[in-house]
């Protein structure tokens, strides 16, 4: 049973998932691909980050902007992972301020 997932993605959205299962200490490192989904019409600040590995898929939905720092923004997210079943939890996600590949992010953050 998956307890924790750490996801890292670079500016090209090449990602890695670090998955810890219930036998704590057993950490699996998986190559993945990240993508982002934005609401087509204004539904506030919520947007989704999807991290897909071969057998696991992590979905993060932003709930609240916690901190708008000089170099990164910190979000509280709802998390959902699909593996053998589907599990829901919470996550903290950092996105760098200079993440320039998605200009539409600026409008999302300003609301």
């Amino acid at each position: 049973m998956i307890l924790d997932t750490v996801a890292a993605a670079n500016a090209n959205l090449e990602a890695e998932l670090f998955i810890t299962d219930e036998s704590e200490g057993n950490c699996v490192r998986l190559p993945a691909r990240a993508s982002m989904k934005f609401p087509r019409f204004g539904f506030g600040r919520r947007f989704k980050i999807l991290v897909d590995a071969a057998e696991h898929s992590l979905e993060l939905t932003t709930v609240k902007l916690l901190r708008d720092g000089p170099s990164s923004r910190l979000f509280l997210c709802e998390s959902r992972i699909r593996a053998e079943g589907q599990r829901r939890g919470y996550a903290i996600c950092e996105i760098p301020t200079s993440f320039s590949i998605l200009p539409s992010l600026r409008n999302v953050f300003r609301r």
């Binding site: 997932t5 990602a15 903290i92």
Partner: protein, 229 residues
């Protein structure tokens, strides 16, 4: 009765081995924390990061302590005095944010009973590894935050290799930790305005100072998700 009560520091627990004391410099206004200039040679140094999400998902704690002194071993907290920046944020409810922090001088010994001090005790519990944080920091909005929190986790050797080679490298110290403790918000007159008992799940890593100074760019998304037992 509640308003007159003042939080009290106690001495460190015996089961914890090493103690780190941070003596704050009060003359630096807390509001300058984010913008406080760092020495030019500080970009390669480290930050200890701790966070925690409550079981209900409506409270979040983020604590960072950044080393800005060249030559110090921040990973093992070797003895000696060096400069650091401490930042504590507590988010509760819909829009309530309490944030406190200032520049600090880390000392091998310090007085925990004084305001604006921070003690971070390092591991040695028999059942795992624990970080005990006890800090009393000035808030940006006036008043102080007094926090007594514990991060407990089982050390994982395989996680030590979970270091991502980006411009701002991070070393995962605890992908999952049980976080518990309490946070008191003190007014300017030292009255306890709010006491919150926190229980949840957390995370800790060691990262480059570039995260705070804004030097890094495009180091990517970094997220950690916790699921119920």
């Amino acid at each position: 009765m509640l308003a007159a009560r003042k939080p009290r520091f106690t001495t460190g627990r015996k089961r914890f081995g090493k103690r780190l004391t941070v003596c704050m410099k009060r003359e630096i206004p807390p509001t300058r924390f984010v913008l406080s200039p760092l020495p030019p040679d500080s970009t390669l140094l480290d930050t200890r990061y701790f966070d925690g999400i409550s079981d209900t998902g409506n409270q979040v704690i983020v604590f960072t302590i950044a080393d800005v002194s060249p030559g110090s071993d921040f990973e093992t907290f070797s003895s000696g005095s060096f400069r650091a920046i401490a930042d504590f944020s507590f988010f509760t409810g819909a829009n309530r944010v309490f944030r406190a922090g200032c520049a600090a001088q880390i000392c091998p010994e310090g007085k925990a009973d004084q305001p604006a001090t921070c003690i971070l005790e390092l591991p040695a519990a028999s059942y795992g590894v624990g970080y005990l944080l006890r800090c009393r920091l000035p808030m940006e909005s006036g008043g102080e935050i007094f926090a007594e929190l514990e991060w407990l986790f089982v050390p994982a050797s395989s996680l030590a290799s979970a270091e991502v080679k980006t411009k701002s490298s991070r070393k995962v110290l605890a992908a999952r930790a049980d976080v518990s403790g309490h946070i008191s918000v003190l007014s300017l007159k030292n009255r306890v305005e709010e006491v919150v008992h926190f229980r949840g799940t957390g995370y800790s890593d060691l990262r480059g100072i570039a995260d705070l100074s804004g030097v890094s760019s495009n180091h990517g998304i970094w997220a950690r998700a916790h699921f119920a037992d």
